[in-house]
Symmetry: C2
Subunit: 331 residues, 2 copies
């Protein structure tokens, strides 16, 4: 990863979960990093995430919906890791237009800024496996039909398509990663809007009871955040990734119950299985795990961290720092 | 089609090409029709299209981006045929945000209006085969991957997904039709931004030379507008169509050259084949024709009008009325 040394790198959503880990790694690799974050209170930006690297990078507080700021920020950058987004599926249903403005409109604004002011910038976009919805077949390959089950999934796939289109038509070199359940230190825990991994990890740490719907047998794949950072860097570093959409994933799949079982070996909490509420069952996607053989064969990416090791590290982190991740969490 | 008698029907884009034909048919069937149109000069709304039915329906001039107007208009309607959109692929690349605001954002605004004020309205959305991009295999079925080749294709598929999502989650009964090349009387001819059928028909009528790139062997399927009106009505009338996405298409496929050959049997003009310009070749989608067996088997739709008959009727219409379709056409 010598390639990033002295390179100018912009990270949108850089004060958030994955963005802050990526920023730290790029600082270590000798890159000149600028992170952009809107600091919208309900979203993932948390200055505690960058407390140790704050002096080694530039922080620019702005919203990716801001066309003028984007136009200025993308100039003279070598790389753009585009991680900013509205990530809550629930919020996308209660406020679909905000989700659209951030996950579609702002993406197009940012790409237009690249087209006009820096068309050779190397771009990597954080997509999501959510675009597949309820899988027709497993494991899910990149040629599985897109059939999103919420507004967020629709807007995220439009965001992907824009990136690939600007690659194909304007030759702005772009790669899309469809991420699956990412977990680790620095994840948002302060509310329940960003998925079950954060909720379960938080409640395990706090010793609150954890409930699983149904028998907890639904399978998922999980990526520890450092493996996702590797995927982002490998994608930006290799030309074969240009214009591609890659699934991330993991060789081992776990049931939700096994996920909670690992947590219960690390923390004390009560664990219940409750009947599936009818309205949740209707939108449940069943099992999901991806086929990530494309990125494995083309970029050599293969996640190194097991769920046991990753959760142990995550719990160690939050046992020390949980108070910095609860500000908005109702007591 | 007794079902539409005395029913309240809203048509967005109702002063345009397909919308005005649909409105006329619904008036004949005894429906109480309201048409909505923004009358944006570059778009398809043309009052000449509804000259004969103006007194038999209500015309509401408003933009589908207008949330308050939508909220008022959808109340108490039984059916909503949602045809309004920015349809120019070229314009979507020069002004992507306007395309997004109309084809994504306004669709979500309209669906939110339905959810809040009329969740039992029966909705049919005009999608496009453009979402498939360059086909991987022919004929193209509904399970072909979506891989749009322009901003319009991306935003139109997001529009589709929103309709299906609001059907699945909020039970607003919706159907999506992926239309292929639609032609006929009342089509926009005043500029070159809406595809080759309008350009060729106009230039044939005006006796201007027509050029085809390459050898003109690219295959397409064509639907005469009355067949598309039938598909819209059948979709709205049958419950089996709820939540479905259907391809439209035609049993006979024609090369671009055959399309022009038919025109040349009806009009006098010069016809040239010119080498494919490199930048056009790069974005050309090759052959396209759809498999429309799903709508055929489920709704009994099968287009009745041959390309020969449809073009003859189209040319008859424009020979009489072309002056009403050229206002903005540079002389």
């Amino acid at each position: 990863m010598e390639i990033f040394k002295n390179k100018r790198v912009l990270i949108t959503g850089g004060v958030g979960f994955i963005g802050s880990h990526l920023a730290r790694k790029l600082v270590e690799l000798g890159a000149k990093v600028t992170i952009v974050d809107s600091m919208i209170p309900r979203y993932g930006g948390n200055l505690f995430n960058i407390r140790d690297i704050r002096d080694q990078l530039k922080v620019n507080f702005s919203d990716i919906r801001d066309a003028s700021a984007n136009a200025h920020l993308v100039r003279d950058q070598d790389y753009l890791f585009n991680l900013a987004g509205q990530v809550s599926h629930i919020d996308s249903m209660t406020d679909p237009l905000t989700d659209l403005d951030i996950n579609c409109r702002a993406q197009l604004i940012l790409l237009e800024a690249c087209r006009k002011y820096n068309p050779t910038i190397r771009l990597v976009y954080a997509g999501t496996r959510q675009v597949y919805g309820r899988p027709d077949s497993l494991p899910v390959t990149e040629s599985h039909l897109v059939q999103p089950v919420d507004v967020n999934g629709i807007n995220k796939v439009a965001g992907e398509y824009y990136h690939i289109l600007y690659n194909n038509v304007y030759h702005i070199p772009s790669t899309v990663l469809r991420m699956t359940n990412v977990y680790g230190p620095c994840q948002l825990l302060k509310h329940d809007g960003q998925g079950f991994t954060g909720i379960f990890i938080r409640d395990a740490i706090l010793g609150k009871p954890i409930s699983i719907f149904g028998d907890g047998s639904q399978l998922r794949d999980f990526n520890f955040v450092s493996d996702v950072v590797d995927a982002l860097l490998l994608s930006a570093a290799q030309d074969v990734a240009i214009g591609k959409v890659y699934n991330l994933g993991h060789s081992t799949h776990y049931s939700l119950k096994s996920f909670v079982d690992i947590l219960s070996s690390l923390c004390e909490f009560e664990f219940n299985m409750v009947p599936f509420p009818e309205e949740k069952k209707r939108i449940d996607i069943g099992d999901y795990y991806s086929d990530y053989s494309l990125i494995k064969s083309e970029l050599g990416w293969d996640p190194k961290v097991s769920l046991d090791d990753g959760l142990a590290e995550t719990i160690r982190y939050y046992k020390e720092y949980i108070q910095h991740y609860l500000e908005e969490y109702p007591a």
